[in-house]
């Protein structure tokens, strides 16, 4: 189908974009970034915005920089930017691995990191990364700027802390320690499909023991999150397959999986166990 009529407002600066958003958000206006989720839903007439504030021409939002131990990702940074490591450390390598799992190459040339966070699909890879690593999201409106922690960002399926007149201008990810190890695993039925379950694990190994373990699960519940029940079983233990299997089982027990006509909760739970075990093993093998 064809998208319904709308008025197009290309913005050339962040100030202009938030001014336009303040004016048009109450009249069904919203931001268009890469358009790779919005335009399909407009074509299907699920989304019927009356105004689109186009941020693609805002040069300052293409910023992708490491500063003060954090990677700052502007609102116009595309998925494709991460296909090659954006920084020389563990984070850059991890993001490259994750990016390859997002949709297909021609979609990655347009879709944005921040657009994925704003869209908050339960199966978004970037949302899992943000939730697991503890991203900071920078929301800007004509009223001012505020920072939201990833833990407070997700409010359920495709719902976030962002107010209607706010623009997600930047996402910030903490760099990973030089001795950190990271592993990602996702299960989907076909190449490029959304994940039915995925997981991201990181830890350091100090004197043979795992420290600062993080286990994040996405695509399973309405929003991605860390699973403390699994993390506890790793802390201070040796990185061994039996320990990984125990933590993976704990993660599977802890989640409350979404169900749909093709995917029963029990199946998703099994996928969580397999996925967490594999991403823990991948992290264990991630010794550069």
């Amino acid at each position: 189908m064809k998208p319904a009529p709308f008025q197009w407002h290309p913005a050339s600066s962040l100030d202009e974009a938030v001014a336009l958003l303040a004016r048009y958000a109450p009249e069904d206006g919203r931001v268009i970034a890469g358009g790779q989720s919005l335009v399909p839903s407009m074509a299907l007439r699920v989304a019927l915005p009356a105004h689109l504030i186009d941020i693609n021409g805002i040069a300052s939002l293409a910023r992708l920089e490491v500063e003060a131990g954090r990677l700052s990702i502007g609102a116009c940074v595309r998925h494709a930017a991460f296909e090659h490591p954006v920084e020389p450390g563990v984070l850059g390598r991890l993001l490259a691995t994750v990016a390859a799992n997002i949709a297909h190459a021609p979609i990655r040339t347009r879709g944005t990191f921040c657009g994925s966070l704003a869209n908050a699909d339960p199966a978004s890879e970037w949302c899992l990364v943000a939730a697991t690593l503890g991203a900071t999201l920078v929301a800007v409106s004509a009223r001012g700027t505020r920072e939201v922690a990833a833990a407070d960002w997700f409010h359920g399926i495709m719902t976030t802390a962002l107010a209607e007149d706010e623009l997600l201008a930047e996402a910030r990810l903490p760099l990973l320690a030089t001795d950190a190890r990271a592993g990602f695993h996702e299960f989907s039925r076909r190449a490029g499909d959304y994940a039915l379950a995925m997981s991201l694990c990181t830890f350091r190994v100090v004197e043979g023991r795992m420290r600062e373990a993080r286990v994040g699960v996405g695509g399973v519940e309405p929003q991605p999150r860390r699973i403390p029940e699994a993390e506890r079983l790793l802390e201070g233990e040796r990185p061994e397959p039996e320990t990984f299997a125990r933590a993976a089982r704990a993660a599977a027990d802890a989640v409350d999986p979404l169900e749909d006509i093709r995917t029963r909760a029990a199946y998703r739970r099994d996928l969580v166990a397999a996925s967490v075990r594999r991403s823990l093993q991948a992290a264990c093998d991630d010794t550069h």
């Binding site: 189908m1 190459a105 021609p106 040339t109």
Partner: protein
């Protein structure tokens, strides 16, 4: 109807002055306003890749962009592949390797492959397979498409080595 906007699209090196509603997708503008019907439209929501074109050299789904967003960019479509000397090497390879049957997916695959080989002339088989999984073909079973694109990659590589 919302007011139409005057824009210029640069396609295959030529400017097209057209007047479109903002909701006009790039795919529809190419086909209906520029008269370039080589770009096909299948699903219209980003899944099939029949509408793939090059935007400043990069493959994109033209059904997931609005024409007004493509002003000032360089667009390339399947019509721009062949020249006075004949078919583009990819078009010839698709013929030679029987990489099309009904041909509906072909313009999209050709542009995907053209953009990919220009940017990554030495792409390995595994990555090529991954990239070509972006588009759907309901006829060929994909193997011949892979063969055709690999053949062009390999012959260009040989040509580069000979030139050295």
């Amino acid at each position: 109807m919302t007011p139409r906007i005057d824009i210029t699209l640069n396609v295959n090196g030529s400017d097209h002055d057209i007047r479109v509603e903002p909701r006009r997708t790039l795919a529809d503008a190419l086909r209906q306003d520029c008269g370039l019907t080589g770009t096909n439209v299948g699903c219209e929501h980003g899944v099939c890749g029949a509408c793939t074109v090059l935007l400043d050299g990069e493959p994109v789904r033209s059904c997931l962009m609005f024409a007004v967003q493509a002003q000032g960019r360089r667009l390339r479509t399947v019509e721009g592949l062949a020249n006075a000397e004949g078919l583009h090497p990819l078009q010839q390879a698709f013929t030679d390797h029987h990489a099309l049957q009904c041909g509906y997916c072909t313009p999209g695959f050709l542009m995907l492959a053209a953009g990919t080989l220009e940017r990554h002339p030495d792409i390995d088989d595994e990555s090529l397979r991954e990239v070509l999984s972006s588009n759907l073909c309901r006829c060929t079973g994909y193997q011949n498409i892979l063969r055709a694109v690999r053949a062009v990659r390999d012959s260009r590589r040989l040509a580069r080595e000979d030139a050295r």
